[in-house]
Symmetry: C2
Subunit: 344 residues, 2 copies
DNA sequence: GATTGAATTGTTAACGCTAACAAAAAACAA
DNA sequence: TTGTTTTTTGTTAGCGTTAACAATTCAATC
């Protein structure tokens, strides 16, 4: 029968008492040990050890007025690319004694303000946004906070502040060109609901412009309303594609997950990929290279996005002035052509 | 050229000044509005609005000595099951005004103490462990903190405190029995390095005991040293399996990822699944049902684990006594038999 | 209109910590 | 020695908030 003892962490006061010194001596022994006499330091360390003392970071922040927390806002933890970005960010920030506080927003819009309120209530040193789809109120609130804000995984033309990302429109266009280069002309774009996914819309815009450039039909677009970005969306979507545009020879899927669903459904129906239908994804998911046929996708340096964001943040917290370019990093992407879109 | 203004959030003092009331009145207007006169409340609310005031949660915690943060320790964000557990936990805790602080440990052992120190320095109200592989020192530190600790995704016989999980040994045994029921007798277990994955070892133990029960060879075990739990591990592993145990008719893979790699490699080699080799995974990854053939796996109620953990935590923070069972929840699991192990 | 109790607002101290200054102790110089 | 640095340690006040109590205001009663 589990019981909660009163969770009483030792305080600096108790450590001081036990070591027979003043509070400040303990504080100094921890943060600037070199200014404390060796013998005293030993006593303090012994007391810390004996009492299992761990300084209260919140109290410290309050006193120094310097936060060591960086908040990361991400839509969900389910997309591995985002997780890698958090990894990169976390490891970069760790070097500077900064820690990551993760706030998941679950894609829900009406709680965005509440989420931001919660985050800002924790007084972070900066905010990293992984989804940048923000209401005007939210932008306002963030900017008004005066904190460094870094938008990632996108490259908006009107950034709030700093940016580390890439152009989704360029992704859409590059994948389209790749397929055109493979002699496809009946290319269909398989996406999700337009109103909730600005990045998907950007990729779609890229598709459209690349098609138009070659005077191809840029309106071959199929939208799956349910199951946004899931494997199931791909399954459903490919069927719609083949219904609506039976002459389709290539499908650009919004993400690798969607592409996977599409490929699996093709296999089930005995449709050969890439011979009858070529398929591309996006996002460089770990499974993409292992599918049979292996999936053409885009490689994004997700970890690197996090590292860059961490560097920018640190620089700005040091009040280092950043040039325009230093504060706006386009990490680019790479089209990884694989068997799902390249005939043997 | 991004610049960091001095990040100066308004304080309660400024709100009070602007509203022409005392600090406490502001505090009360926020936390117990019903005891503040309507007219005063209006004034305070206007001031809060005007100044964009957001209370400093850290200062509040310091004053009340009540934390609203629950720390979640997880090895990495990359496993979707864990992410779902965090979702469940987060949404349950939200109901009670508690927030989740995520600490990723990246599976690295020597920083475990440092990680715990960082976490405890933030003075959470409780700790939820998603990986429970802990050093004696770590256990000591957590227990010594007096905080409620909830281990999840496992069902250890010697829990530190509360537990929400399932028996990995039972998983291994159940999958083995499933294959035996399908008339397999040459079953090989495909796992990873034994020293770093106690849960995998438990599943292996389950396999062994189920095999032994039927007087079958329980030593058909292949270990992939690199790429722990990745798709690639499955690719490499299945080859080793077929080399070492050419008579294998069924393979139990440590996770769905591994199973996916194994299936893909089989396909590449023209080995029919399940006719020549049956394959099972574990973990209920989203792709498992979409593979062709669909993958036999175990379904774990990952979200539910989080919800249960949240409930237990809340109860304990209310100092509600929990019975032995209430503090030790076995959420069980389900073998989901699919085409990869069941002949049509 | 004084009395009283309830409703409302204010004051003080404390949470755990550290910056800034003050004091004491030790080391050095004359 | 005795003064003068330098090193080391201590004291005070304050970070933003709230619990606990104190004071004030208000409305209702006699």
């Amino acid at each position: 029968m589990p019981r909660t003892k009163n969770a009483t962490q030792a305080t600096i006061k108790e450590v001081a008492a036990r070591a027979g010194v003043s509070l400040m001596t303990v504080s100094r022994a921890i943060h600037r040990p070199e200014v404390v006499a060796a013998t005293t330091r030993k006593k303090v360390e012994a007391a810390i050890e004996a009492l299992n003392y761990i300084p209260d970071a919140g109290a410290g922040r309050l006193s120094t007025q310097k936060s060591t927390t960086v908040a990361v806002v991400l839509p969900s933890l389910h997309f591995e690319g985002h997780a890698r970005t958090v990894d990169g960010l976390s490891s970069e920030l760790r070097k500077h004694g900064l820690h990551v506080l993760i706030a998941d927003s679950f894609y829900s819009k009406n709680t965005e303000m509440e989420l931001l309120r919660r985050i800002l209530g924790r007084r972070p040193a900066g905010v990293v946004l992984i989804n940048s789809a923000h209401s005007a109120d939210g932008r306002q609130m963030l900017l008004g906070s005066g904190l460094p804000v870094i938008e990632t995984w996108d490259f908006p033309s009107d950034p709030m502040d700093s940016v580390v990302g890439f152009s989704h429109k360029a992704v859409g266009a590059a994948l389209t060109r790749h397929l055109i280069d493979q002699n496809h002309s009946c290319i269909t774009f398989l996406g999700g609901p337009q109103d909730s996914d600005p990045r998907g819309n950007e990729r779609l815009a890229g598709f459209r412009s690349a098609m138009a450039d070659q005077h191809l039909d840029a309106d071959r677009v199929v939208t799956v309303e349910q199951d946004h970005l899931t494997i199931n969306a791909g399954k459903l979507g490919i069927s719609q594609v083949l219904d609506q545009y039976p002459d389709t020879t290539a499908v650009i899927c919004l993400t690798d997950r969607v592409a996977m669903g599409a490929m699996m459904e093709c296999r089930r129906r005995g449709i050969s990929v890439p011979d009858e239908v070529a398929i591309t994804g996006h996002g460089g998911f770990d499974f993409s290279e292992h599918l049979v046929p292996s999936l053409t996708t885009t490689h994004i340096d997700a970890y690197g996005i996090g590292v860059h964001a961490g560097r920018i943040l640190h620089a700005r917290l040091q009040n280092q002035l950043l040039s325009e370019e230093q504060g706006r990093i386009d990490v680019g992407f790479e089209v990884v052509a694989r068997d799902s879109s390249v005939r043997a």
